[in-house]
């Protein structure tokens, strides 16, 4: 369908004319347009014709796909068909700045993996990082510049006309001498783009660059300023700690740098033999995914975290802690208990544990928990660290985050005011969506209406862009040049992983080319493209870190490795300076009786993930909800309100109301109701629009008193039942294990005292298995197997999305998920358990094909479409499958997926499809293959080199992505391989091994604490 044009040694798949027409007429079917729903008139007539007996029955069944094959006449130099190239670049989905490697096959980016060179994520990714590709290939991207036509609608215009419009506008503003009334609003761009914008605005007459981050950390900065005299955001070395007390920091989801912290968490707080397993306590009103991974969840009254911190500090200092600041004595356990709602006994116990397990660390400041006293709270937490003697060991200001450079919220507020007052002549907006992420009460949209000319560089027509006068769509990160400096010592480079998909242009290039036509700017901005500008700018980096290499070598290496990462970045440990304690009570707006918590979602972040179907279909780990919002309500409260799961509830604050379905469960305090941030778009493409609600809409424009940061948790709301009800669409409807010991756990004491009964061994054989009628399978050279450590799995879903990307797994949409027709090959089962103290314990269990040695699915297939191969894989032959579905019925693990329809990938989402994996059509079964394509690839390479495969040479997408290394893959025949050793672990067991399925996956039991 697409022809390839050779140009400048690179290839670019170009949309042909008829494809364009397909693209523009893509119908917005219900169920996300992903399934072949409904029946067209023609097809209806076809079927009727068949009934009439006029045609053969087959007439309506099969139609051959039309394919045009266009060969290369002159093959491009750098493309070998079927061989991938890999480009290291940097992810910009959140400010963490993880390094990624993009696989490019035949000119198209098809897969993202973490960049192992980058010390932030060390080769791992989160679910959002995996889904970057669906931003690149999003069918609702802005395909060309848009301008307002005579009737005021946005309409496609050419680049020439678009740039001309911008030049004219800038010229006009400058002529009036209002060059200082130009505002450039971006996210927290760091590095060269930041420099270009600042220089450019200066040259234009002193405009203002505002960097807006939805989730900024002003209270943390302010608190650090008070306590340590620096307003930076440090790196917390939680991997060095043994006791972690987190006051609402959701560091496994969105807090500062989640992939980095997930790895660090795994290094210290999961079980490994011969290492002390740290204890992790999470204090927050609503159980976050991070909290669900904690050893203990302390549901605290919203806004009172600081009191608890000081209460603990008081206990520690009175029992001989380090310093003893004034008036700590006021925070007696009984008073603190009364304020926070945390039992006195718990406070005393935590205080004891916090001093006993060294080094310990208290962190705090999750977005959702940020109230009007956020700075005070964080100062109190710093105080706690200081009293416990933690300061100076585990808080590293030497590797602080550049996120602290984001414009404070109070300046965003004043920007909105100046916009409203007509003090902004020209507003340039780059990749931020304040119309969605700022509370409605701030009046951003109205203020935007007062700005004479608004230019958006967004790749999508989001809520802000649709109000713009001119849209100059930027490339997405995967198509651009640039750099990103997330923290000190890390200079991430951004390079294009493929030629642009659409007629977009890098904003840096736009600035440079516009400057060529602006008076007086020609000489200053003489670089041809942003790429040249970037190189020039990197000469400074070269001077610093070039270590004697010439620039070309340095540049080449940096581009190749995805940036420059300083391993020897000096650490600068914090030293406490202030010791005042002045804790204020949290303030709440609204008359309601429930605290309202709008919390950031690890799937959508600030809403930018909502247009990616993979993230929409990834079930929320704790609630299992997909494609929609929900309101979390405690069962006791639900009973009072007469609400059951699926009932619509109305949440009213003084600033508005939202209506969404209730989800009743114990993961929240009875006095709190919570709704996730990210959904509720009314303009962001087909996957995001009209889905769920945006809780930010009803938040008041209240700030944290000391830092001026936005106070997310500052509202009290009224919650009432509307009377409407619908089934809440979830991927898993059950809550518990139903008494079945599937996701097992063992206590630390049992393990350490040797009481624990070991049950796992390599093949999970049961007594008497040798009496089978058939001979056991022979595994000639390798037997592939896996181990999954339940102690390490945090339920983040990175593996699930990675699997979607690697294996062309179809997204089916909400309607189909409601029928249980999710196609994911790996899913995260979630079971709630009551722990000894009646608390809620969540167990996450990645479940995928177990590649059983004695697979129940194999003998029942009448046509050998599924069979056992010589490497222990339970193979699946799509072509041979007739679709009896018997294999799935007989699968004890329920991991087989059936293609109920031929699922669609709207153009150009299908460009992402992995050419090594068959795209399945309707009527066939599919399931996890252990990435047989990767195994084959590695085996061929080994054969070419005349050797055997080495351990670790094959890594399936799930294991590759897993930020905590919970999944390990390898050869079970090799006794030295990592997976073989793990399979013999004392914690190992086979799920449902008593059925004699002999699964190739060994699960390692979760390790619990006895006291928790």
């Amino acid at each position: 369908m697409s022809e390839r044009v050779k140009k400048g040694g690179s290839t670019k798949p170009v949309l042909s004319k008829d494809e364009e027409s397909v693209l523009s007429s893509e119908p917005g079917l219900g169920n996300e347009g992903l399934t072949a729903g409904g029946i067209k008139r023609r097809d209806f007539l076809k079927i009727i014709g068949v009934i009439g007996g006029t045609a053969a029955v087959t007439g309506g069944c099969s139609s051959e796909p039309v394919e045009k094959i266009i060969p290369y006449v002159i093959p491009p130099d750098d493309v070998i068909p079927g061989v991938s190239s890999y480009y290291a670049t940097t992810c910009t989905e959140c400010p963490a700045g993880c390094g990624i490697v993009v696989e490019n096959r035949d000119g198209r980016a098809i897969k993202i993996e973490g960049n192992p060179e980058n010390p932030i994520n060390a080769g791992k990714t989160c679910a959002r990082g995996q889904a970057v590709l669906q931003g690149l290939y999003n069918p609702d991207r802005t395909r060309s510049p848009l301008g307002r036509n005579s009737s005021g609608e946005l309409q496609a215009i050419g680049w020439e006309a678009a740039e001309k419009a911008l030049i004219e506008k800038i010229g006009e503003v400058r002529k009036q001498g209002k060059g200082n009334r130009i505002v450039f609003l971006t996210y927290n761009v760091s590095g060269t783009f930041d420099k270009l914008i600042k220089e450019w605005l200066n040259a234009l007459g002193g405009g203002k660059h505002v960097t807006y981050e939805t989730f900024a950390y002003e209270p943390l900065q302010e608190a650090n300023k008070i306590s340590f005299g620096t307003d930076r955001i440090p790196t917390y070395d939680i991997e060095k700690t043994k006791y972690l007390l987190s006051f609402g920091a959701d560091f496994l989801e969105t807090w500062i740098s989640p992939t980095e912290y997930a790895r660090k968490y795994s290094d210290a707080y999961t079980y490994e033999k011969g290492r002390v397993m740290g204890k992790f306590v999470q204090v927050e009103p609503r159980l976050s995914l991070t909290g669900a991974n904690a050893d203990e969840w302390v549901p605290i009254k919203p806004g009172t975290e600081g009191f608890l911190a000081l209460g603990i500090a008081n206990l520690i200092s009175s029992s001989g802690g380090v310093a003893n600041p004034a008036n700590l004595g006021n925070y007696t356990p009984d008073r603190v208990s009364e304020i926070t709602g945390v039992p006195e006994e718990t406070i005393r116990r935590i205080a004891k544990e916090f001093t006993e397990s060294k080094p310990s660390l208290a962190i705090g400041g999750g977005v959702a928990n940020t109230g009007t006293n956020a700075t005070d709270t964080l100062v109190a937490i710093n105080m706690l660290n200081s009293v416990a003697g933690n300061v100076g060991e585990t808080v590293d200001f030497g590797r602080s985050f550049t996120l602290s450079k984001a414009t404070p919220f109070r300046e965003i507020k004043s920007l909105v005011d100046s916009m409203a007052n007509g003090e902004v002549e020209l507003l340039l907006i780059h990749n931020v969506n304040p119309a969605f992420t700022l509370p409605k009460s701030l009046g951003f949209e109205e203020a935007l209406g007062k700005v004479p000319f608004v230019v958006s560089f967004s790749s999508f027509v989001d809520e802000t862009t649709r109000l713009a006068n001119l849209v100059l769509p930027d490339h997405t990160t995967l198509e651009s040049w640039g750099d990103f400096i997330p923290k000190q010592g890390i200079y991430g480079l951004i390079q294009p992983a493929m030629r642009p998909v659409f007629d977009t242009k890098s904003t840096g290039d736009v600035i440079l080319s516009v400057s060529k036509n602006l008076e007086g700017l020609k000489d200053q901005f003489n670089q041809g493209t942003f790429y040249d500008y970037l190189r020039d700018s990197w000469k400074e980096v070269h001077e610093q870190f070039g270590s004697g290499k010439d620039f070309e070598t340095f540049w080449f290496e940096a581009v190749q490795r995805g940036g420059v990462f300083r391993k020897d970045q000096p650490s600068a440990q914090a030293q406490i300076s202030g010791s005042d304690v002045a804790l204020s009570e949290p303030k709440f707006e609204g008359e309601g009786d429930m605290y309202f918590m709008a919390y950031p979602s690890y799937r959508y972040y600030d809403g930018r993930g909502a247009n990616k179907p993979w993230l929409q279909e990834l079930p929320d780990a704790l609630t299992q909800v997909v494609w929609d919002s929900w309101a979390e309500i405690h069962p006791d409260t639900a009973e009072k309100l007469g609400v059951e799961e699926g009932d619509f509830v109305l949440i009213e604050s003084p600033y508005g109301k939202i209506e969404t379905q209730a989800l009743v469960y114990k993961g929240i305090r009875p006095d709190t109701v919570a709704v996730l941030i990210g959904l509720g778009h009314d303009s962001y493409g087909r996957y995001a629009e009209g889905r769920g609600v945006n809780p930010i809409d009803i938040l008041p424009p209240v700030v944290d008193e000391k830092s001026g940061g936005f106070a997310w948790l500052s509202t009290k709301v009224k919650v009432s039942k509307t009377g409407e009800s619908a089934r809440l669409v979830k991927a898993q409807h059950t809550q518990t294990q139903d008494g079945r010991n599937v996701a097992r756990a063992v206590t630390l004491n049992e393990l350490q005292s040797g009481v624990h009964h070991e049950e796992g061994h390599e093949l999970h054989e049961i007594p008497g298995h040798e009496y089978g009628v058939y001979k056991p399978h022979e595994h000639i050279k390798y037997r592939w197997g896996m181990s999954i450590d339940l102690s390490k799995c945090i339920g983040c879903g990175a593996c699930v999305v990675a699997c979607y990307a690697e294996n062309n797994v179809a997204v089916v949409g909400k309607e189909q998920v409601a029928k249980g027709r999710v196609m994911s090959w790996i899913r995260i089962d979630r079971y709630f358990e009551e722990n000894a103290k009646g608390g809620l314990e969540a167990r996450f269990m990645p479940m995928l094909c177990q590649h059983c040695d004695n697979a129940p699915c194999e003998p029942v297939c009448p046509v050998y479409a599924t069979y056992h191969n010589y490497e222990g894989l339970n193979a699946m032959v799509y072509n041979r499958c007739v679709g009896t579905r018997y294999c799935s019925n007989n699968c004890s693990y329920k991991v087989r997926r059936f293609n109920w329809f031929t699922y669609k990938w709207p153009e150009p989402l299908n460009w992402q499809l992995n050419p090594d994996v068959t795209v399945r059509s309707k009527g066939v079964m599919e399931k996890c293959t252990f990435n047989i394509q990767r195994i084959n690839h590695a085996r061929r390479r080994a054969q070419e080199e005349g050797r055997d495969l080495k351990d670790g040479e094959v890594t399936p997408a799930c294991a590759q992505a897993c930020p905590t290394d919970a999944i390990v893959f390898g050869d079970l025949k090799n006794p030295e391989s990592r997976v073989s050793r793990l399979a013999k672990s004392e914690r190992g067991y086979g799920v449902l091994a008593e059925l004699n399925t002999k699964p190739a996956i060994t699960y390692l039991k979760k390790v619990k604490r006895d006291e928790a």
Binding site: T58, V742, K819, D829, R830, V863, F901
Partner: protein, 444 residues
């Protein structure tokens, strides 16, 4: 039976062949209505093939549902025909005589219907022939370990044998019709079908031997086919399926449901064609007694299954039975118990089992109950297997209902044609029990 006074050879010929008279308006209305429903069923099927199996109500993990229920239901129905004609023939049970032809026809048409469902339920029905072992250049073969392959053989063997048996039994009767029919096309048809039957002693002697042989040959099939069908489930490891009681339980259930449908069909035919003298109350009572027996066997199975599940100590098995009685599908489970175990108990009263109207109503209950039995076994078991995260609920879709209705229409289409083309009661066998015509008889 005491026919001496009323029924004669000539009356038999007349009464039975009278049924084959040109169909009247009522028949045509029924036939057209039936074809209408069938056309809708066919539309549903083609829509499903075109769009994908997703238009049916399947949900994870319930991957078999109404179609396989229908399959087992119709295979079950197909049982009693052969049972009544072959086994009861061997046992010389006289009450079979007047009803066995209807039962045999029902058998053949039910197998026709049952055979459709394994194809309808396939994800890619156009490849259904891959389930047959045929030589091909791709050197692909079928998996003889799979119970579905056994099904293919069992059902196709059963179809062949029951059709041949059905046909062989009719040869003398067809010859009798041939001799009475006047219009040429029908005459040609019956001439071909009667295979040149002349009614000679030589022919009769071979014929009776052959019939006995077929009866003996068909008898084990009655047991084997439904045993094999039950293995579709019993061989799988699904809790609620994986049990050794299934083969006898299924065979008894099949006879039970087959007898139910025989009564449902015979009562109206008897009334419409005024066959009260041929199909007597005693015939019905015989069937009713067999229903009592099979109902008791089925009920026993209903009790033993949960007992074994409990005794096994397997949480999965026991969980399954608690779920059946107590879960989302409890209504279907208790409907089944009511229809199959409670309702047939009234047959212990002779007054009821000799009351044709009461029998008709009871037979409807049995049909419903037995359909739900299969639904329960298939759907409830699949809804509640091993992994607690993957418990699911199934909701039927209009496409499945349309195809199910269509399958009934398909069955009745054959039946309506049969009633008007072939003798619904065996003329030859009836005559065997009548007094040989004498002059006195003739003058009467």
């Amino acid at each position: 039976m005491n026919h001496e006074t009323t029924i004669t050879y000539s009356r038999v010929n007349h009464d039975i062949i009278r049924m084959l008279d040109k169909p009247g308006a009522k028949w045509w209305i029924l036939f057209v209505l039936d074809l209408g429903v069938l056309a809708f069923g066919l539309f549903c099927f083609l829509y499903q093939v075109y769009t994908g199996l997703g238009v049916a109500g399947y949900s994870h993990p319930v991957f078999w549902a109404v179609y396989i229920t229908n399959f087992v239901f119709w295979v079950g129905i197909a049982h009693s025909g052969t049972l009544i004609s072959a086994i009861l023939f061997l046992f010389r049970a006289r009450f079979r005589l007047s009803i066995y032809r209807i039962a045999e026809a029902m058998t053949v048409f039910a197998v026709f219907t049952a055979g459709l469902f394994p194809i309808i339920h396939l994800g890619r029905p156009w490849n259904f022939y891959w389930l047959f072992p045929y030589p091909n250049q791709r050197e692909l073969w079928i998996n003889f370990k799979s119970p579905l392959i056994w099904d293919v053989f069992a059902v196709s063997t059963y179809l062949t044998v029951s059709s041949v048996f059905f046909f062989v039994g009719m040869i003398p009767d067809i010859a009798a019709i041939r001799d009475r029919v006047k219009e040429t096309p029908r005459k040609i048809m019956y001439s071909i079908l009667s295979l040149g039957w002349k009614g000679s002693d030589w022919e009769w002697s071979h014929y009776t031997r052959a019939y006995l042989y077929f009866a003996a040959f068909a008898t084990p099939l009655v047991i084997s086919v439904h045993s094999v069908v039950s293995w579709d489930f019993a061989m799988a490891n699904v809790p609620g399926w994986h049990t050794t009681i299934f083969p006898p339980y299924f065979v008894a259930g099949a006879i039970f449901s087959g007898l139910g449908l025989v009564i449902t069909l015979t009562v109206p035919i008897r009334k419409i064609f005024h066959l009260e003298e041929y199909i007597t109350v005693a015939n019905f009572e015989g069937m009713a007694k067999l229903i009592m027996l099979t109902s008791a066997i089925v009920t026993y199975a209903y009790l033993v299954e949960p007992l074994m599940a409990w005794y096994s100590g397997s949480p999965y098995e026991w969980g399954q039975f608690v779920y059946r009685a107590n879960g989302e599908y409890a209504f279907f489970y208790w409907t089944m118990i009511f229809c199959n175990s409670i309702v047939p108990l009234v047959l212990w009263f002779k007054k009821i089992r000799t009351n044709i109207n009461a029998l008709f109503i009871i037979s409807i209950f049995i049909n419903i109950g037995m359909w739900f039995e299969r639904f329960n076994i298939i759907v409830i078991s699949l809804s509640h297997e091993f992994i607690p995260s993957s418990f699911g609920l199934y909701r039927v879709s209009w496409v499945e209902l349309g195809i199910t209705a269509g399958s009934f229409a398909w069955f009745f289409m054959f039946f309506l044609i049969f009633i008007k083309t072939l003798p619904a009661i065996s003329i030859a066998e009836l005559k065997e029990i009548l007094p040989i015509p004498t002059k006195e008889a003739k003058t009467q």
